[in-house]
Symmetry: C2
Subunit: 220 residues, 2 copies
């Protein structure tokens, strides 16, 4: 019985890593689609989201099955509870990649990235891929060391998000159309939220390892 | 033992209702702060978010305790699993009310709502309060009847969100500053996401009642 149980916990961990790989791949491709105004690539990101949604449903079903059949306790229980929480955050990361790709589709053949935002969005995309990669590492080999790394990349994303508002504040009224400003606001928000969700995942790994909810991450 | 267990499930249900009341009150006050440019009220909404966060932490701890000590099965297990999911969505509704209030604070003494958006944001706020109220009813007296009601209000919020982009698209370049357009985009997004989270909660109630994940809500 115990052997089956450990296999199932392994499967849960594997699925979390797999979902994280998928969303990191999608945010990378969504960024590229945005940078190169590649409609076909954007469509691929939009289609891939269904796989991520299905991954969450499978993972949640498995977690409920483990709770029902094995009644885990202590750290084993925390693995399952944190998986139920993490699956929400990772699925949402997939949605955010899809939203960015959808902006490319909505504006095509025009670019969804007005010139003044090209550099900052490339940097946001690069940071989002780094935070996704850190999340894969964290879930593949859980340890507290990767948690502050994720917090640091999230701070970079927050700073870039603020930079977008600085750029918007410095625009003259005729530089861009109102719709272009709305688009840039949303794209920036999507990247910033992608980072927040990785932070949510990292908090759940902390819970899994320590048993404490939402520990204080505000170390200097 | 059974008696204690049922008490604990009741407590979980009560906490979900209580958190839903809190976030509905906060979105109502955030809307009023936005409409009347009331800084003090906005500050109150911002402060209240800590109570909602604490409510989530307490509820999650209670859910884990029930899993560890009672090993529930069947519908009792679904109550606890759906509570772990719903607490994420309801806590997020509190964040979104706080974000709207924060826009009032950021722009004060100027208004965070440029004139062309006054009416649509009042309607979004009113719809958000209605969806929160429907969520309270759903959780207070779970039954499938309230689920499509929540879906309908969410569609109204989505349509109002699109209307915001129509208004933005019809603005002339000099009508508003770029920062005002970015503000309106975000406020609209926050209201729209508030509705999405209520839909997430209603899906989990469906799961609780039927045992099926994410059932098809796309009835005509």
């Amino acid at each position: 019985m115990r052997e089956v149980f450990n296999q199932e916990l392994d499967t849960i961990a594997d699925r979390l890593v797999e979902m994280s790989r998928l969303v990191t791949e999608q945010i990378s491709r969504a960024t590229r689609a945005l940078e190169t105004n590649d409609l076909e690539l954007a469509e691929q990101v939009i289609s891939a989201d269904a796989r991520i949604d299905a991954g969450q449903a499978d993972l949640d079903r498995l977690s409920v099955q483990v709770l029902a059949l094995q009644a885990p306790v202590a750290q084993d229980l925390r693995v399952v509870v944190s998986a139920l929480k993490m699956s929400v955050a990772i699925e949402r990361m997939g949605d955010l990649a899809r939203h960015i790709a959808a902006q490319v589709r909505i504006r095509y053949p025009q670019s969804a990235v007005p010139e003044p935002f090209r550099e900052v969005f490339s940097r946001m995309g690069e940071a989002a891929v780094r935070i996704g990669t850190a999340q894969i590492q964290l879930l593949d080999n859980p340890g507290l060391a990767a948690v502050p790394m994720i917090a640091t990349i999230d701070e970079q994303l927050d700073a870039l998000h603020l930079q977008v508002f600085t750029i918007i504040g410095e625009l003259s009224s005729g530089d861009l159309t109102p719709s272009q400003i709305a688009d840039a606001t949303l794209v920036s928000r999507y990247f910033e939220r992608f980072g927040d969700q990785a932070v949510n995942v990292s908090h759940k790994v902390e819970y899994l390892l320590t048993g404490s909810w939402e520990p204080d991450l505000s170390a200097p």
